[in-house]
Symmetry: C2
Subunit: 153 residues, 2 copies
């Protein structure tokens, strides 16, 4: 493929380093932008999007969308480690996104694949529900969670 892939620029470096530094969390374009701005290493939003796109194509970064109005999340994927086997929990009340790294989940994924022939994509799949904090602080009576008009953001 033709050479390209690109020049080695300061911005590309900055973004990639940010991604590798945050490989354990999902980051948003806004988050990157703000952080870099705070570091005095301001990078234009368009540039961030363009690099992230390239990285996704190269398989170095995964992109997933939790909610249409929230914006996409990105995460660095370590080439050596292959696929990350962790899932995400999203609280419908506080909107928090929680990491779930748990052998049970991996087992489930294996089971669904071998028994049902369906290969679950862990990075795309998000479990919706109510997190511990919200179910403790939220309602005294927990008779029906769905009624709680969520302020989805």
């Amino acid at each position: 493929m033709g050479g390209s892939g690109g020049y080695k620029t300061k911005q590309r470096d900055t973004i990639l380093r940010y991604m590798t530094d945050h490989k354990d969390s999902h980051v948003t374009v806004n988050g990157i932008s703000d952080y870099l701005a705070g570091q005095g290493a301001r990078v234009g939003t368009a540039t961030i999007y363009r690099h992230l796109d390239k990285l996704v194509e190269q398989g170095l970064v995964r992109k997933y969308t939790v909610d249409a109005s929230t914006g996409a999340c990105f995460q660095y994927v370590e080439p050596e480690r292959g696929c990350h086997e962790h899932f995400h929990l999203k609280c419908e009340k506080c909107g928090r996104l929680i990491h779930l790294e748990c052998s049970h989940v991996r087992e489930l994924a294996d089971h669904v694949y071998s028994e049902h022939g369906f290969r679950i994509d862990p990075l795309r799949t998000v479990f919706y529900g109510i997190c511990r904090e919200c179910s403790e602080n939220g309602l005294p009576s927990d008779n029906d969670t769905r009624e709680e008009n969520t302020e989805n953001e």
Copy 2:
């Protein structure tokens, strides 16, 4: 408080009927809007969003986001079929929605609740991945699935 749930209006009826008529496919707000406009039963976009939101809260409709720039997808959930009891798998390639009735999943939900304090909402949770048919017919070489997300739409 509230009440509601509401008045019985022509628009609500129109939208709900559209949803039940398309229970086997995922629809977008735009799709609904266009279709209704073509039928002479034009309904404002805001109204569609508002009703869909309510229907989601009531558990009659499921919402999921495939891609930020594509818009959210909605699908009617048949109350009689007890879809509240099980989970769904959504194939990212063919778009099919598969019902997963499996004790393993419930076990996982239980585990996540007892160990991680997170209560998963089966109604809203959708597992994304690739279904059996697509992974068999889809790619000639299956050395790397990750690359195959071209026509994601």
